[in-house]
């Protein structure tokens, strides 16, 4: 899968990695049983500190997305068969509504976060 890091973004680097795994899962690019790259390899390629990648992996483990085992690497356990298709469809409708209401992406995601923390 494609991993990107934007050092210019306000989002913390480890959170950018975590978000990409969630997106890949929802798209079905990643599914149960897939192995994530070794933390050291990912850190090397993205010019990150290895602890940044490990923090992202720990976060993913704590939310039940991956299984971290010494020697086995990071294995996806929380994938679904077809990704979260229905969530994405609903989300597209939400994005369209937000655009129609001339909400900025920041405002729209703030609303979404607020809704989800209820």
């Amino acid at each position: 899968m494609l991993w990107t890091i934007d050092p210019g973004s306000d989002e913390p680097l480890f959170a950018q990695l975590v978000a990409q795994v969630h997106v890949a899962l929802s798209r079905g690019t990643l599914s149960t049983g897939d192995r994530l790259p070794a933390a050291r390899e990912l850190a090397g390629s993205l010019d990150l500190n290895v602890h940044t990648v490990l923090r992202a992996y720990q976060e993913l483990r704590d939310s039940g997305v991956i299984d971290l085992r010494r020697g086995r690497g990071a294995i996806v356990v929380g994938g679904t068969e077809h990704g979260h298709d229905h969530v994405r469809t609903t989300l597209a409708a939400y994005a369209a509504a937000a655009r129609a209401a001339r909400l900025s992406p920041e405002a729209a995601s703030a609303l979404l976060k607020e809704e989800m923390s209820r």
């Binding site: 899968m1 494609l2 991993w3 990107t4 934007d6 790259p37 390899e41 390629s45």
Partner: protein, 338 residues
Amino acid sequence: MTTTPAPGPRTTEPWKALARRSTLWSSAAGLLLLLGSTAVVLSWRNDLPDPIASHWGTGPSGAPNGFMSLTQWVTTLLAIGAACIVVFGAIGWFWGKAAMTRRISAAATVWIGGLLAVVQMAALASQRGLSDAAQAHDTSGWWLAASYVVPLVPAVAAAVLVPGDAPQSTTARVPANAARVALADGERAVWIRRTGGGPGLRVGAAAIVLMLVLAILTRMWGLLAVPVLLAVLFASMMVFEVRVDATGLAVRSAIGWPRTFIPADEVVAASSTTVHSFKEFGGWGWRVGRDGRVGIVPRSGEALLVERTGGRSLVVTVDDSETGAAVLNTLADRIRNG
């Protein structure tokens, strides 16, 4: 294949001198192994029956069913060996633009010489002291296995001895019509994908299970070494990790070797293509195909094609190759941005 403008003047082609040198010494080495074993079996002339057994039946008796004179045997093997060495050597001589092609060609010439050397020594050593070749018992399957495996040692040594390519960086931009990904300034990217499977892996898995069952049923525990060796062989030839990042393209087998790397400054263009491994490369795994093209083709189908400076190219069968090609084009072009 798309045509790309030649990166430099075409007056000198430095790869040709390298290709000739490695082809000559590796062919000589392969031939020497064959000639050496021929000298050894000829020195056994007085101990061997005449005619000698040259072929064995497959039945439970394993009795010989083919006979020929020693001279005929030696000439036949030399002819087969010479023909194979010429064919494998020609690949390096005419198409050895890439070090990988020259390496595989050198390894193949040495390997075939070694294979025939072991075959003829094993087949004839067991007949020494016999008065009638009809008594010759079949050489065991162990020798057959050894004739394939033992020559791998000098073959790998030959591959290692072939010098790698000198760096050939380019400052030409990646063609504008090549696929790209949208990356912000300063945004970093890496694309990592495992590839493998295909008929090679299925055959390998079946062979490993079969040998395990056979070893357990016959209680010949030495046979357990075979599935272990097979597992290593298939892990090194049929499962790979492909990685594209700012440094370039890296392909590495599941056990870490063999591996290859194309630096970003040697990438002319990357694209997604379709490969028929058997038609274009004559099989599966890490191979040299038509025109000396290097292919890492554990299966047929979608593949990432990287055209490299010096007229070289590499093709790797991997899913989502469009993303891989786009990331490589984007990152390779970025370092030429001035």
